[in-house]
Amino acid sequence: MNETTNPPGHTPTPEDIDQHIEPHMMIETVPTKRKIDLVRKFKEEKLFAFGVTIVALAIFLAFFGPVISPYDPNFATGNVSVGPPNILDWPGLFIDTVFLGADPPHWFGTDNSGLDIFSRTISAPRTDLQIALIAALLSMAVGTILGLLAGFFKNFLTEILMRTSDLLQAFPVFITAMILVALSGRSTGNIVVALTIVYMPIFIRLTRAEVLGQMPRGYVEAARAVGNSEFAVAFRHVLPNSLVPSLIQLSTTVGFAILLTSGLSFVGAGVRPPTAEWGLMIALGAPQIILGEWWQSIFPGVAISLTIFGFAAVGHGLEEDYR
């Protein structure tokens, strides 16, 4: 049965669909490995590899950023508004610092209060990533379950749920989050809750759409016929088959949640200064740009962009494989 008339890349014809058993699918042995080969994917897809590198770096910094930073990110050094050293001097300075024990330079300069920008930039992921990851995971967990219920049991209650999520989505994410934080108070916990609420409707919609697509599938009816209760059918059978879009969305959502966390700090509705946080750093540095002190905002800005890009690239890469 190695014969095939269906080489890869050809569009399926009605015939193929009718006889949905293409001969090359009939394998005699069961493969032991079913997961996507991430190592191979990493080697072959440059964008995905780049994304993974950035995400890995961000996660590494979230754990060890404050530990490896040359200065205490929240402690003024006394060198106020120092510009970064010339890029050509960096190798020399690096050797001096590491091998000759010289005082570490302010790689990215310092801000008005004398805080070291480099230390703060690499320490910020602990705050940003923590808030963004927890919020994204929470909104996915709650959102998929609500979406599952909304798709599986179509009744008055779930209709109310869907209209509520429409209402939430009708406002710009940023405005909603700002209002929520302003109402509940500027604390990390409240920011997480606000982010969770604003990103939940995406997951509700995605999961509901996927569940609605799964409902007419035969295995759902088969699960009932075997004798499962409705809840068992929903959670044991339909949910695992409806998760993929949400998992892909998760990566992108983490990126946007980082952006939103920084955005909230920027307008003063986020974490309190002097916490090392990218948005806050940009906010503090923004007025100084006009004075020529560009370094205060640029470095955290680049850090945000790269991180969001990294998460989006990972999401995009996984999406291609799961579709």
Partner: protein, 623 residues
């Protein structure tokens, strides 16, 4: 049988063959792997007026070969070698323009899935006329009139009106006929039909094939019919060509083929069918006709409401039947007759609107759903599409564990042993224990699905077209397996199918449905060999049994039904007999006279007053 003379064809060819493929090979380059030859060293000669059936399992290259006759191949395939002589011209060496002229004029092609093959935004008349005008120098008006003539020729009622219809306004049977009209519009000398009737009901299939047969005999066109259906081959073809892995393994006269198939593949199919039939008969002997019925359905109806409308879809109306332990009851009818709904209602996967379902003296039709779940271990179902009915993320092991967990006390090693036993019962290799559905062949998927159904030791299984998604060979294997299980475990089956061949092999009694009503109930012998109700008679006459002793094309009267099954919405339903308008034996009285199911002397029930009063004499069956 074969018309030997035809001036236009003989003129161009020295051998008298209309089409000659010699040493044809089609290669598909594969990105990471060796190239695949879909067709290899293929030799075929077709005489004028000949009906050739090209058969083989899926993926054997039969469609690719048929397309290659036209000099076409799906990308990225390439025609590697060989030559196709059509009326003395080598198709591969022709100029593209000349080849294009020839396709459509001299060679017609009918593909499967008519709905997708018609242009959705052009009137069918224009589509026929366009093809006709592309090959003939005629005015628009003449072409349009020709289109009307063609529609009349392929048996479409009211062609003057239908010619202005768009594809979506036609039923699939009619769309398929429009495709023949297009293919035949320039009276081609060769017609290539690639599974033209897959997905059509038997009555429509018979109408269609009759039409194709007649039209081609009229114009003395040769036909290459690509199919998997032994019934079509037996009833219409003059010659059978069997393909296996890209090469022809058997090329024989149709009578010789069915009498003594040469190749192992053909022999296996025919043998498996015989075995399944024998198995069915051996089980039949063991049934205690006086035992209390295990499942009894009384006066069950299912009406589906239509949104924003008063009318309803009458999927099933006042259905009564019963099954004894170990019995296999066939439920047959065209699509839209309510077979599947009835099967679902008995298991309450769809809630019946009214009626009783009695399982072992207990009415389970109106108990609460949660309470009903306890009965699910006893009442099981096997679905039509095995891949769809298995959870795509679950291995066979997980699939089989679930019913054991829900309905038995087994755990640990005992459960594992039971799973091994189940795999063994359905003939699945132990290595398939941890396979995912998509990693198995369709036959194995269906075996896993059957294993799931028998895991909780049920007394009754609904088989909802368990073989319609399978190849003839796998079908025979699965039927064989089902009969073995019935013999071993004494399970009663409600076998739902539109494939009368399978029903004939394994069922003991048969219920014939039309528009949600039972029109005839009787033993297999009564219904298959001496059908009484006009609908059963037409259905059986339309069905193509793989048997050459009474070919449909040789019959003096090809009994069939006019038109198509109406959609069973309240306002569509006839006032009197539901068959009125399609019935060959109707009289005026039938129109307004509702029909009751009457029991005849020989124990069968028939819903036709003329039969009940003896107006319609019993005629010998058509086969």
């Amino acid at each position: 049988m074969v018309a030997e003379t035809n001036e236009s064809t003989v003129a161009g060819s020295s051998t008298g063959n209309i089409l000659e493929a010699r040493d044809l090979s089609v290669r598909f380059p594969i990105v990471d792997g060796p190239d695949v030859y879909a067709v290899r060293n293929f030799n075929l000669a077709v005489k004028p007026g000949e009906f050739v059936g090209l058969m083989g399992e899926p993926g054997c290259g039969k469609s690719t070969a048929a397309m290659a006759f036209l000099g076409l191949v799906r990308p990225p395939g390439v025609i590697e070698s060989g030559k196709v002589d059509f009326l003395g011209n080598d198709i591969f060496k022709m100029e593209e323009e000349a080849a294009r002229q020839m396709r459509g004029r001299d060679i017609g092609m009918i593909v499967q899935n008519p709905r997708y093959s018609l242009h959705p935004m052009m009137r069918v008349g224009d589509q026929i006329a366009n093809v006709y005008r592309a090959h003939n120098d005629v005015s628009k008006k003449d072409a349009w009139n020709h289109a009307i003539d063609m529609l009349r020729m392929v048996g479409i009622n009211d062609p003057d009106r239908r010619v202005k219809a768009y594809a979506h306004e036609l039923s699939s049977g009619m769309a398929q006929r429009v495709l023949i009209a297009i293919a035949l519009s320039s009276t081609p000398k060769l017609l290539i039909a690639d599974e033209p009737t897959s997905g059509l009901d038997v009555t429509i299939q018979a109408q269609f094939l009759d039409q194709m047969w007649d039209s081609c005999r009229q114009t003395n066109s040769a036909v290459v019919l690509v199919t998997q259906d032994l019934g079509i081959v037996a009833n219409y073809c003059d010659r059978v060509v069997i393909m296996h892995e890209g090469t022809i393994v058997e090329d024989a006269d149709v009578y010789t083929f069915f009498k003594s198939p040469q190749h192992e593949y053909s022999r296996r199919i025919l043998n498996l069918q015989r075995e399944a039939q024998e198995a069915g008969e051996s089980v039949l002997g063991k049934i205690d006709r006086n035992a209390a019925p295990i499942v009894e359905v009384k006066d069950m109806s299912k009406l589906f409401p239509i949104r924003a409308s008063e009318s309803k879809v009458h999927a099933a109306e006042h259905v009564d039947f019963e099954l004894r332990p170990g019995e296999c009851l066939g439920l047959v009818g065209e699509s839209g007759s309510g077979k599947t709904t009835i099967g679902r209602c008995v298991l309450r996967l769809v809630e019946p609107t009214q009626g009783e379902i009695i399982f072992r003296d207990r009415n389970i039709a109106d108990i609460r759903r949660n309470e009903f779940r306890k009965f699910r271990g006893n009442l099981q179902i096997v679905f039509q599409d095995p891949l769809d009915s298995l959870n795509p993320r679950w291995t066979v092991h997980q699939v089989l564990s679930e019913p054991l967990k829900l309905h038995t006390e087994l755990s640990g090693q005992a459960k594992e042993d039971r799973i091994s036993e189940l795999l063994d019962l359905v003939g699945l290799e132990p290595s398939m224990r941890f396979a995912l559905p998509r990693e198995m062949s369709a036959g194995r998927q269906q075996r896993a699905s059957i294993a799931r159904a028998i895991a909780s030791n049920p007394d009754f299984i609904v088989l909802d077209e368990p073989t319609s998604a399978l190849t003839p060979e796998t079908t025979a294997e699965i039927i064989r397996l089902l009969m073995d299980l019935s013999a071993k475990l004494g399970i009663a089956y409600l076998f739902i199918s539109h494939d009368l061949t399978t029903v004939k092999y394994i069922c003991h009694r048969v219920v014939v449905l039309y528009l949600g009503q039972i029109v005839e109930v009787g033993t297999k012998d009564q219904v298959f060999n001496h059908p009484r109700h006009p609908y059963s008679r037409a259905l059986l006459a339309s069905h193509l049994f793989p048997d050459t002793t009474n070919r449909r094309v040789d019959r003096a009267v090809r009994e069939t039904l006019e038109g198509e099954i109406p959609s069973p919405i309240t306002e569509n339903l006839p006032k009197g007999c539901y068959l009125y308008g399609r019935c060959p034996s109707q009289v005026d009285k039938c129109r307004d006279m509702p029909q009751e199911l009457a029991v005849l002397d020989d124990g069968r029930s028939v819903r036709c007053w003329r039969v009940a009063e003896g107006d319609l004499p019993e005629e010998p069956a058509a086969h």
